[in-house]
Symmetry: C2
Subunit: 337 residues, 2 copies
DNA sequence: TTGAAAGCGCTAACAG
DNA sequence: CTGTTAGCGCTTTCAA
């Protein structure tokens, strides 16, 4: 594939390549007339700038990396897609994506890969808030623009987009309480995910606010799989521990719980309500009894871009945290919705 | 961020940069001893090659683009993720992703963007099998490596990964028939998506094979939204058209249908069974009555990579089509599953 | 086995 | 306003 270069243009116009370059860049130091001539020919010949050459010269790659824990949750993909759109279009950045499959080792490999690709910055949502801290530190000290989002690392100082999981959680649990639920089980996320500890905090707060005693029996840490959540519920049933609601960390867990309760002929939501937070189309379509919360994807994306570009432009800029206070919209679907 | 270059290495070792380059490349024309010295220092100083320089020199970008119609269906993301992993790892390619949001104009913009980024090849799953054909042609004639997958364009000659929708469809419909269903509605996809016409063909074939008369009333073209599918079913109900099964084009449609039937107090699957093809975790967890089919994601990904690299290496290579005959696994969930 | 030199396409001093 | 020159980091002849 033969591409037109500024040299081609220069030759045809009897100009030096510098002038052509300037004309194309809209430098100002070039006569209106030549500028027009150059641009017209460029247009006509279908010239497009060779970014590799520019980047080599400029010592940047004009590309950024996004690393997310997994790709099945539509939330992440929505953010990625939005960031991509914005960064491709307005800023001319290439966006490289990698997913870690909830595995810190893969995450590490992904970080290394991005570094090898010499991306100008990395948007990161972590698998675990402890496993790769030394690597985050190394990158940061090396001057890599590194911005965390959603799954952040609380004890690591960096720019972050934090989602107010605590507030969301309080709201959701209070919503259950308002419906008369008092024995609310919390299928929590693993403690190495910060979001999960925040949600737990919200859960406790909601109980306290409403004068319901906190019972540790009702809080069950659990990994992210549907089966794991189902197993926890089975345990409760087997031990005759009574409950009237289940608040899950993830949608997947909620699905697992729902499946199990159905199998046990336990009426949803008459006997037990199920809740989780999520912003997916699927879940609201699907869960007869699911209360959900919407994530402000666009806000998150644009905040992430802002902080990232800030760091890219000025690597020594101060770290900033933007807390996205979700437009919390409780959306209760009826049993047949 | 200061990076070590071969010149740095050369200086410290009193060698020319050519020799260093050769040593690093494992050229062979360099003494074992210098080779070792170079490599050791490189290792020690954390040298990594600057791909931009290489690519500029080599006149390629070592990057490919993937354009998919949407990102919500996990199937696409699984393929993307797999291609990414493989291409990043083994082949050192960067992978750029873009989604067209089921809109041919956006798809066109995405194609243009990939071209501007000078990707070495494009993996494409189209929105419509007619709207952008002139653009596909232009790219192909320009020498761009272009490989279609899943959502292909039958009348356009190019390398493709085709999924045997016909066979899958026959199987699924026959499965319904075996259960005693005779009045099977087909909520079809729009005719500008090839896969949808293939599935329709399969539907007809299954009926014919089993001696069931084909009734056009039962075939309802429908766009991809859940609401659209629900509306079609409403129409059938309002007009007292009797049916005992619904075979949908997409999972989303199936969800819409399910929702509507529930609302109308129609028992699933006792009165009406719902089926669609899909390979998502969600759907099997979620649909009490859904029969699904698994997509061989890895096969698709590796076939796509193979054809793409083939075209990149030799742009004049003949077009090839690989038909992926899904490992068709009917997975029937019980009502409480 | 090694080095010197050219060049990929572009930008940015510097000079005129 | 325009041209000359140098150089980003690397590979690849061509000579030695």
């Amino acid at each position: 594939m033969k591409y037109i270069t500024i040299i081609d243009l220069a030759r045809r116009l009897n100009l030096s390549k510098s002038t052509v370059s300037r004309a194309l860049a809209g430098d100002g130091n070039v006569s209106k007339e030549t500028q027009d001539r150059v641009r017209e020919l460029a247009q006509q010949l279908g010239y497009t700038r060779n970014d590799m050459a520019v980047n080599l010269r400029q010592k940047q790659t004009k590309s950024i990396g996004i690393i997310i824990p997994e790709i099945v949750t539509p939330f992440f993909m929505h953010v990625v897609s939005e960031v991509q759109r914005e960064l491709n279009g307005r800023h001319g950045y290439r966006v490289l994506l990698a997913q870690s499959n909830e595995n810190s080792d893969i995450e590490l490999a992904n970080l290394r890969m991005m570094e090898e690709f010499r991306v100008d910055g990395i948007l990161l949502s972590v698998c675990s808030s402890r496993n790769n801290i030394p690597e985050y530190l190394r990158l940061k000290e090396k001057g890599m623009a590194l911005v965390f989002f959603d799954r952040i690392v609380p004890q690591f100082s960096a720019s972050k987009i934090e989602i107010n999981e605590y507030a969301k959680s309080v709201l959701l649990v209070e919503h259950l309480i308002e419906q008369g639920r008092k024995k609310i089980v919390h299928i929590a996320g693993p403690e190495y995910i910060y979001n999960s500890t925040e949600r737990l905090r919200g859960y406790k707060k909601a109980l306290a606010k409403n004068g319901i005693a906190y019972d540790p029996t009702y809080v069950i840490p659990c990994d992210l799989a549907a089966e794991a959540a189902a197993a926890k519920i089975t345990y409760l049933l087997d031990n005759n521990i009574d409950f009237d609601a289940v608040f899950c960390f993830t949608e997947t867990q909620a699905l697992g719980v729902k499946k199990l309760l159905s199998k046990q002929k336990i009426a949803i939501p008459d006997q037990v309500a199920i809740a989780c937070m999520s912003g997916t189309t699927l879940s609201t379509l699907v869960h007869p009894t699911l209360t959900s919360v919407e994530q402000p994807v666009d806000q998150i994306a644009s905040a992430a871009i802002q902080l990232l570009l800030e760091k890219i432009e000025n690597p020594t800029a101060e770290d900033r945290t933007i807390v996205v206070d979700a437009q919390i919209k409780i959306r209760e679907s009826s049993a047949v919705d």
